[in-house]
């Protein structure tokens, strides 16, 4: 991994991003981690469309490459899983706001996937035009609340 230049990820960064995403959102049940699901390119594309997100992604990947340079040859992918998690924690502590925003993007892309929706039991997709069914209001629920005398403060 090398520090990204001109606001773009290098090829090495791209490969590392997928592994990073596997550490952030690991496999569960029959689903692989977020990186192995092939979501890194979507993260990069969506980040490119929104300047603050783009800057968060680049900052995190740069910080990660700097952390790597300090203690590893072969880059992030060459580290053990435990070391990868440690490295990510270092970066999270070093650039907390940018890391949090980057995480928001990773979660958002992950939780937009139909196979994830199926696993977590969320109907998924656009919430309009179908909406959801909720029973109309039934006044009988106010039985207790109605017994209270008015208590607003008179002036």
């Amino acid at each position: 991994m090398s520090p990204s230049r001109g606001g773009r990820l290098s090829d090495a960064d791209r490969r590392a991003l997928a592994v990073v995403m596997d550490r952030l959102v690991p496999p569960v049940d029959e689903l692989p981690g977020a990186g192995e699901m092939g979501l890194a390119s979507e993260v990069e594309q969506r980040a490119r469309r929104h300047r603050p997100l783009r800057s968060a992604l680049i900052t995190v990947m740069d910080a990660l490459s700097m952390d790597m340079a300090a203690h590893a040859a072969g880059g992030f992918r060459a580290l053990s899983e435990e070391q990868q998690v440690d490295s990510l924690r270092q970066v999270e502590a070093a650039v907390p706001e940018q890391f949090a925003y980057f995480m928001q993007l990773v979660y958002t892309i992950y939780y937009m996937q139909p196979e994830v929706h199926e696993r977590i039991g969320w109907p998924g997709g656009a919430v309009q035009p179908d909406g959801f069914d909720v029973e109309p209001f039934d006044e009988s629920i106010l039985e207790t609340a109605r017994q209270r005398e008015p208590f607003w403060r008179r002036v």
Binding site: I120, W122, A126, E135, F137, L142, W152
Partner: protein, 549 residues
């Protein structure tokens, strides 16, 4: 939709800002023969294109459709330097203003809120009473369409609501039972969301994230309530026009406004009277930008109070996690339109703070919203992620503690020396510190919130002591009062320093109350509009927004 009566001649009334308050004034005045122009920096939005129609609505809510203008960064937005504030101001800039994004939870202030100095010895009394505003609250309810039910013991009796309350949902019922168990007040909220068709608009279909705009127009935003009628009546609404300065004559009276049109060309609109409706941040910004020989410290600022006394409602959020087997699917139904509790609304000498707070009950939303920490902490990444997500998803409800913030001079909006908007106009900076009184109040709200969740059967309670992204209520920065040395406008919203300048947005609030402010903002705006019409000797036709059912 920019047509209307008249041409570019001097307007009788120039309104700046087409949001909640600007729309109400425009509609009210449009019932007269006055020549009215409104300048709005934003555009029309098309409900059919709102993001909830798309699969990626959670991504859009994080980016170009976010609540925070600094994140959204659209051309019509202006940046706000909020580095000196633990709360980020939120707003939307468009026809409809922040009501495009609002949740439309629509309570009224209490009679006591207008008399805090007399009752509790803090801040100032308002120069008007609840009774003065009541007819205008009623009129606004009719125009926006209010779903609710009479009989709330925490509030004075009020006229019949236009529609029955929205359904509470299984989640709402569970929490209501918790309040009942403790013997604590709760009551279905007044909401400007249609529970049945009203005003030619559809009923809510409980999709959830109505803060991202309502494709059905079931949520009342002023682009679909007041504006269509005002424009039919002849008001000229000019979009993508950003006002840079309100101009004055040598006596300091307003003469109109200089603005950049949609092509970036500088223009001037002259007017006999100017009404500012640019919200609690945009209004002081504009006044401070409008320096002149007659008003060297900014327009209407002889008291030095323009921009001072900024009040948010600081929010704490208490989230209850319900156990397995309580799959309440808490993403079903509008996020914040369920019920409220005002058990702790009024001052109580036994507590270590003055004034009080409301609880607004809020649901959860989609999976990404929960994972990234909607109102609480983000779900941790790494090994434990999926387990914690499963523990919370569809099983959390929250109590939003809406605390009454008291006015303090050091909480302020000033012009930033460096930051500018897309037109090169200085941007506002917010300096804000949470007061000791507000902190104690929120802590009390958290402690009592825990009791509610325990009574309702939650297995865990999470607390967010202060919601950073909760600055959606902007108040106090051009305070109302009778004394020109201690306030910016009088009881009619009229500037003490310029008798043909009126302010109608949340800036004029003397105190904040412990409820969402918009019905009060709009009631004040309607009251001021009637005063202006009388002053200008304008006749009236009495049309309101009759239910078209």
């Amino acid at each position: 939709m920019t047509e209307g009566r008249g041409n570019d001649r001097t307007a009788d009334v120039l309104i700046i800002g087409a949001g909640a308050s600007g729309a109400a004034v425009a509609w009210s005045l449009s019932r007269s023969e006055l020549n009215i122009v409104c300048l709005e920096q934003g555009r029309w939005t098309n409900p059919a294109n709102y993001v909830t129609n798309n699969d990626d609505w959670e991504y859009r809510g994080l980016t170009d459709w976010a609540f925070d203008p600094n994140v959204r960064g659209r051309p019509e937005d202006y940046p706000v330097n909020d580095r000196n504030s633990p709360i980020s101001p939120l707003m939307f800039n468009a026809v409809g203003g922040s009501t495009i994004h609002w949740t439309a939870h629509s309570p009224r202030m209490h009679p006591s809120d207008f008399k805090v100095k007399t009752l509790d010895g803090v801040a100032d009394d308002w120069p008007l009473s609840y009774e003065d505003l009541e007819p205008f609250y009623d009129l606004n309810d009719e125009m926006m369409g209010c779903a609710g039910i009479n009989g709330d013991p925490a509030n004075p009796p009020r006229s019949p609501r236009q529609m029955p309350p929205l359904g509470l949902g299984e989640d709402g019922k569970k929490l209501a039972a918790g309040f009942d168990k403790l013997g604590w007040h709760w009551w279905p909220s007044d909401n400007y969301v249609n529970s049945v068709p009203y005003g030619g608009r559809e009923a809510c279909n409980y999709c959830g994230p109505n803060g991202l705009g309502c494709t059905l127009k079931a949520k009342a935003s002023t682009d679909v309530t007041y504006w269509p009628i005002a424009i039919d009546n002849g008001v000229r609404l000019r979009t993508r026009c950003r006002v840079r300065e309100i101009t004055v004559d040598s006596d300091g009276r307003a003469t109109g406004a200089t603005y950049f049109d949609r092509n970036g060309k500088e223009r001037h609109q002259s007017a006999r009277m100017v009404v500012i409706a640019a919200n609690g941040i945009g209004t002081p910004r504009l006044l401070l930008l409008s320096r002149s020989d007659a008003h060297p410290d900014g327009l209407a600022n002889s008291s030095g109070l323009v921009g001072k006394n900024l009040m948010f409602h600081p929010y704490a959020i208490v989230t209850g996690v319900f156990p397995e087997g309580n799959e309440m699917e808490t993403w079903k139904g509008p996020l914040g339109n369920i019920f409220m509790s005002q058990e702790f609304y009024e001052s109580d000498p036994k507590r270590d703070f003055v004034r009080g707070y409301s609880y607004q009950i809020v649901r959860s939303s989609g999976p990404a919203w929960l994972a990234r920490g909607g109102f609480a902490d983000a779900i941790p990444w790494g090994e434990g992620h999926h387990e914690e997500f499963a523990r919370q998803f569809g099983k959390t409800m929250a109590l939003a503690v809406i605390g009454e913030d008291l006015p303090e001079l050091h909480n302020e909006v000033v012009l930033d020396p460096d930051l500018v908007d897309g037109a090169g106009i200085p941007a506002p900076r917010v300096n804000y510190t949470l007061s000791v009184n507000s902190r104690s109040m929120l802590d009390d709200g958290i402690a009592n919130g825990r009791r509610v969740f325990e009574a309702a059967g939650a297995v865990d309670v999470l607390a967010n002591p202060l919601l950073r992204s909760g600055g959606w209520h902007l108040m106090g920065t051009a305070k109302m009062g009778l004394d020109p040395d201690a306030s910016v406008v009088n009881e009619w919203g009229q500037a003490h320093d310029a008798d043909n300048l009126f302010i109608v947005d949340g800036s004029i609030f003397v105190t904040a109350g412990g409820v969402n402010p918009t019905p009060t903002i709009q009631a004040l705006a309607l009251r001021t509009a009637e005063h202006i019409a009388q002053r200008l000797g304008a006749g009236r036709s009495g049309d309101t927004n009759g239910d078209e059912e």
